[in-house]
């Protein structure tokens, strides 16, 4: 026990804390500037000096720890004098331009100067002068206002791990600058901006358009960019989102946001958003009334159902839709149309991967806390760069690496380049061989946990693959590989982080089996990266052709019957088509009507031309979206939807955390679930929902994993399913898992040629970022990354335009030389135009039903 006396008040602590923490716990305010809760003590600003009995010098309370019997005084004459002196020093060079500084009103220096500072200055010299820097598209830097607290630099180094900023020069000439000079060359997390106590780093997005006291509302909500679901606060004025900031209640992202969360909010205000329904007349989309549009949709769907049967209708939903939207959508298709033809983007990789793991280990096996990653004793990343797909989750890996946890990355490391012990980049089939070899290796070093004898048997039945073969196929150094295998075998509770690139391949089913084996043998936790905010929610809500809400298979009759009874409707019993099958069926004219909710199929599937043809082939295409997307351009009816900031609802993140999205501004469209309810009503199924809580209440009645959850529970931010403690499926049914024929994969992988692989891109993630001018402005040009060897051979310099051709098509892209790539790999990110999907041939892996990306070899150059 440590008892400390601060200003006469005795406080006792169990663990050592700093004087500042102790004072705050006692409700005593000590002013600070360089201190930030997310950062380590720095002791630079000297504002928090306090007097400690028997210590001659004043001490900084932010760095000094309390000890038993310590007597601290925070308001003595000496302390107050020191505080005033420090503030005077800070103000001698700080411009007094508060009238037009964006920080005014929330500036820490301004507040402190008012509270403690001298009323007049004695500094008679001229202040330091620097021009304000506007070279960056998103961030304005003002060196004159900077007080060198270095919070931005420390945030960038210690928390974000980007190390993009530095203090340059010395003493009174010191200043903060990106290493890249004028423009930032970084991840644009903007966390430097959120920790800046003054107006030295400000956002261009709301320049001179933001005054904290003029904000009408602050809405605490959840980010809608990816499956991590960070808490953030939208600040609103004149029905417009003026700014997004990390919440004051730090949420589980602890006050950290990524570029999308911080700057991507401008897609809400994007002027191109749809405001009225559009209907195709004489080949053109023309504005119509809501009533016209909805009646037309209902009648056309009814017609098609009558003439071609219910299964001629299908629905696809986006991972950006809420649980409520998703639930009503599947209920509509099943109850009102009578088909199980329902799937979502989650059906392209996230869903099949989860299904595979649940099949072996039971439901919820991939439900793991994001914070658990940095506490594991090893990290194995495969199938995508987590710092681009789920950036805030990616930070966990970086922080683990800093703690000395070994990180292994298979695939392009992207933002983990400086944060991994081993990195192996190769072609997709060679990755499979590598996984097979790793399983063989780990198998030799570890005994079976014995929990799942059936799985033990499968693993025993796998063909042993020597590391040497994997080294040959993957063109790796054997010693390096042996080293990595040893690192891996030594892990006892690793985090295995899996991205979609390992699933969307011809050998995806094998990869999943090997990864399951590794997870099993190493006692690993599996994380599935999720590119969209509610992929998990879509699965939970039953937006799958063979699953009902709460992940219950359609085939289990008892559950189907119970659903039918609860809802008073009849559910079709034969499984429907999944996403890939729908596109193929559309291609051959078997799908007559397709209802697309928020999804841009034309841009999220491989082989853009093939998908466009399929969409053109659909007799009646309805698209409900915020913008006239590529898919919407093919539609017969387009309905304006609402963005996440314009409606209420819930998202379920990749951890299974159920979170509320709150309405911040009024939109011009109608909530997705409401539109569907209207159509459903005309088709004879009256859902009777008055508002979103009615929908949610029904979800909690139907789904045992959402049982007893209410919006009030969720608001606390700690609501994980299964909430009511409902039982999860443990019906592992591993029999029937095909043992992979690794020999043929090895043969395939030996075939030469240049493999085109996807690079997950932080600023180009699915369709929302396409409508954020801010995110688009950071790196607007599509590119192809290639190895130095290949570039040299073809005499290509960075910045040259090169043609990339495959059997699916060809595109011309700016070249980018990346020394860490092997010769036979080029990377193309999924840009809207000039993205990877334009050069990937349509091919489906029939064993997990996902469209694959590894079908084609590319030719580079003319």
């Amino acid at each position: 026990m440590i008892t400390v006396t601060i200003n006469g008040t005795k406080i006792t602590f169990v663990k050592p804390v700093t004087i500042l923490e102790a004072a705050r716990a006692a409700g005593i305010d000590i002013p600070t500037l360089c201190h930030h809760d997310a950062l380590k003590p720095y002791g630079g600003c000297r504002l928090c000096l306090v007097e400690i009995e028997k210590v001659p010098r004043l001490q900084t309370s932010c760095s000094q720890q309390v000890s038993d019997g310590m007597v601290v005084r925070t308001e003595t004459e000496k302390v107050v004098e020191a505080r005033r002196a420090v503030l005077e020093f800070l103000l001698i060079n700080h411009p007094l331009d508060c009238s037009h500084c964006d920080k005014a009103g929330e500036c820490e220096l301004q507040d402190l100067a008012v509270k403690y500072g001298p009323a007049t200055g004695r500094f008679a010299e001229s202040k330091r002068k620097y021009p304000e820097n506007f070279e960056d598209p998103l961030i304005v830097r003002n060196r004159e206002r900077c007080i060198l607290c270095s919070r931005c630099v420390r945030m960038c180094d210690d928390v974000q791990g980007a190390s993009a900023l530095c203090v340059a020069n010395r003493g009174s000439k010191a200043y903060v600058e990106p290493f890249s000079g004028g423009r930032y060359d970084c991840e644009y997390c903007g966390n430097c901006l959120s920790v800046c106590p003054v107006g030295a780093i400000t956002s261009r997005l709301h320049r001179h358009g933001y005054r904290p006291w003029l904000m009408e509302r602050e809405v605490a909500t959840v980010c809608s960019y990816c499956g991590v679901g960070c808490s953030l606060v939208l600040q609103v004025r004149n029905n417009s989102v003026v700014r997004s900031v990390p919440g004051t209640d730090p949420g589980f992202n602890k006050g950290i946001l990524c570029a999308r969360g911080r700057f991507g909010y401008d897609c809400v205000n994007n002027g191109d958003k749809l405001s009225v329904p559009l209907m195709r007349r004489d080949g053109e989309l023309e504005p119509v009334t809501w009533e016209e549009a909805i009646t037309h949709i209902a009648h056309r769907l009814e017609e098609i159902k009558r003439d071609n049967g219910s299964d001629a209708v299908a629905g696809i939903i986006s991972g950006r839709c809420t649980n409520e939207d998703a639930y009503v959508f599947q209920k509509f298709l099943r109850g009102a149309i009578g088909t199980n033809n329902i799937d979502s983007v989650a059906g392209l990789a996230y869903g099949p991967a989860q299904r595979f793991f649940e099949r072996i280990f039971g439901q919820g096996v991939t439900a793991n806390y994001v914070h658990g990653i940095s506490n594991s004793d090893g990290i194995f990343v495969i199938g995508g760069d987590p710092t681009a797909v789920n950036p805030v989750l990616g930070l966990q890996i970086r922080s683990a690496h800093k703690k000395g946890v070994p990180v292994i990355v298979i695939g392009y490391p992207g933002g983990l380049k400086r944060f991994s012990k081993h990195t192996f980049i190769t072609s997709s089939p060679a990755e499979t061989v590598l996984l097979a070899a790793l399983v063989s290796e780990v198998r030799q070093m570890k005994s079976f946990p014995g929990e799942r004898p059936a799985f033990d048997e499968i693993i025993s039945g796998l063909q042993p693959v020597p590391l040497k073969s994997a080294a040959e196929v993957g063109r790796f150094g054997l010693n390096e590989l042996i080293d990595m295998a040893n690192t891996l075998s030594n892990m006892t509770n690793p985090s295995i982080i899996i991205g979609r690139d390992i699933v969307q391949t011809s050998t995806g089913h094998m990869n999943l089996l090997f990864l399951a084996a590794l997870a099993y043998l190493l006692n690993g936790k599996v994380y599935l990266l999720s590119e969209l905010p509610n992929e998990q929610g879509l699965l939970d809500m039953g937006c799958q052709p063979d699953m009902l809400p709460s992940g219950r298979p359609l085939a289990i009759e008892s559950f189907r019957k119970r659903c039918e009874e609860t809802l008073g409707i009849v559910l079709p019993s034969t499984p429907g088509l999944d996403y890939a099958e729908m596109i193929e069926a559309a291609h051959v004219g078997k799908i007559k009507a397709l209802y697309v909710m928020g999804e841009d199929a034309a841009l999220s599937l491989p082989d853009t031309n093939y998908v466009r043809d399929a969409l053109r082939n659909i007799e009646f295409l309805v698209v409900q979206d915020r913008f006239l997307t590529e898919t919407a351009r093919h539609a017969d009816v387009v309905l304006p939807a609402l963005s996440w900031a314009e409606k209420e609802g819930t998202y379920t993140n990749l951890e299974r955390r159920i979170q509320l999205t709150r309405k911040a501004v009024e939109g011009e469209g109608i909530e997705e679930w409401k539109i569907i309810s209207e159509i459903s009503k005309i088709l004879g199924l009256d859902t009777g929902y008055r508002d979103v809580t009615d929908v949610f209440a029904e979800i909690t009645r139907i789904s045992h994993i959402y049982r007893e959850v209410t919006h009030d529970h969720i608001a606390g931010g700690k609501c994980m399913w299964p909430y009511g403690g409902g039982p999860l499926r443990h019906d592992a049914h591993i029999e029937g898992v095909d043992l992979p024929d690794i020999i043929s994969v090895m043969k395939n992988s030996e075939a030469g040629g240049v493999h085109v692989r996807r690079e997950a891109h932080l600023f180009h993630s699915q369709n929302a970022s396409r409508f954020s001018p801010a995110l688009q402005s950071i790196s607007p040009e599509p590119y192809v990354k290639m190895s130095e060897i290949l570039a040299d051979r073809l005499s290509i310099r960075s910045g040259d335009y090169v043609k990339v051709s495959t059997e699916a098509g060809s595109i011309t892209l700016a070249a980018y030389r990346d020394p860490c790539l092997p010769e036979n790999i080029v990377l193309i990110p999924p840009f809207e135009k000039g993205g990877i999907f334009e050069v990937t041939k349509w091919k489906v892996n029939p064993l997990i039903n996902v469209p694959v990306l590894d079908g084609s070899r590319a030719t580079i150059g003319e």
Binding site: R46, A82, V86, F89, N169, R170
Partner: protein, 417 residues
Amino acid sequence: MNSRESVLLKNADRPGPAGIDEYGEWGGYRSLHKALSMEPGQVLDEVKKSGLRGRGGAGFPTGMKWSFAVADPQTQKYLLCNADEGEPGTFKDRIIIEKNPHLLIEGMVISAYAVGAASGYIYLRGEYPKAKDILLRAIKEAYEKNYLGDSILGKGVVFHLHIHCGAGAYICGEETALIESLEGKRGQPRIKPPFPVNEGFSSKPTVVNNVETLANIPYILEIGGDEYAKIGSPECPGLKLFSVSGHVKRPGVYELPMGVTLREIIYTHCGGIRGDRKLKGVIPGGVSTPVLLPDTIDCPMDFFHLGKVGSMLGSGAVIVFDETVDMVKVCLRITKFFEHESCGKCTPCREGVSWLRAVLERMSNGSGRGGDKDLLTEVSNNIAGKTFCPLGENAAAAVQSFVNNFGDEFKEKIKSG
């Protein structure tokens, strides 16, 4: 000049550095042999008994510093030699390195053995390229003779020595800033605690000693700690190098026992003031130490006594001013130095010292204003006691000492301006 044969300044008056053979002929590396025949704890005890205090400026007892590092349970430890000699007026470490590099190397190997460090770095001032070449050659020689390496003298003792050159920042002479710089980071001081002896280079226990401190170690081993403690002042005994510059007849580096008076240094060893002018003031230990008036020059030069007259021994860089010197200009020059060398981490040093310089500059230019003398006092008082590290503290103390001791001159400046 003194009866004792030079220890630290051996070879100083000859051209070129002493090679390993020459060093051996003088009995070099004999102390290392002796040390390795003892237990590390016994070596440490000898150093403790010697009463040796750090020669870099702060005067921390060397044996005590070592014992903290020894007590830390971590096994990987480092020994760093602070050769970032940057204190204006100081040129003593350079002469050791350039004339007798093996003395430093031997001192380091013995020290590393005592503290249990298997590797060490010499953080060398960037402006000492010649010293670097000399050290590199000497280290190579020491490796060849098995005084460095994986089994020193075949006794299984491991010590590897590397050189790292600074990039011109005075602050990197501060031990935690030195460590930051050595780790490849921006050179600025760290929060203490943790102290380097527990969490230093690469977060491992690290002993940082000055060149001169380490160069004393072989001699302590040779004559024994008790014998060494008999040299000079009883409070802080030992040999001390004094770099004397300014208006004396014979400026230079002098090896003298601790406790010698300033008067002796100036008038006996250095032959008195140039042109037999009157002494106006003297800085006893480099510009970081407050200036003294002529009436205090009978004070013994050691860590203990100089504190009593309001100054410090610092690095032992004696800067002598005769009666012709404009003390406002000296004060401005010193403040400019501190302004230039402030790392910018803490507010009072970064902003305050540059403010002091601005005021002194205008006084010096003849455009001083009424109240400027008081302003100097107030601003330096506002810096004092609030800075992160001693740099800003010393800058303020320097100005305070000049204003206090030569106040009339400052007043005169304003009037004449």
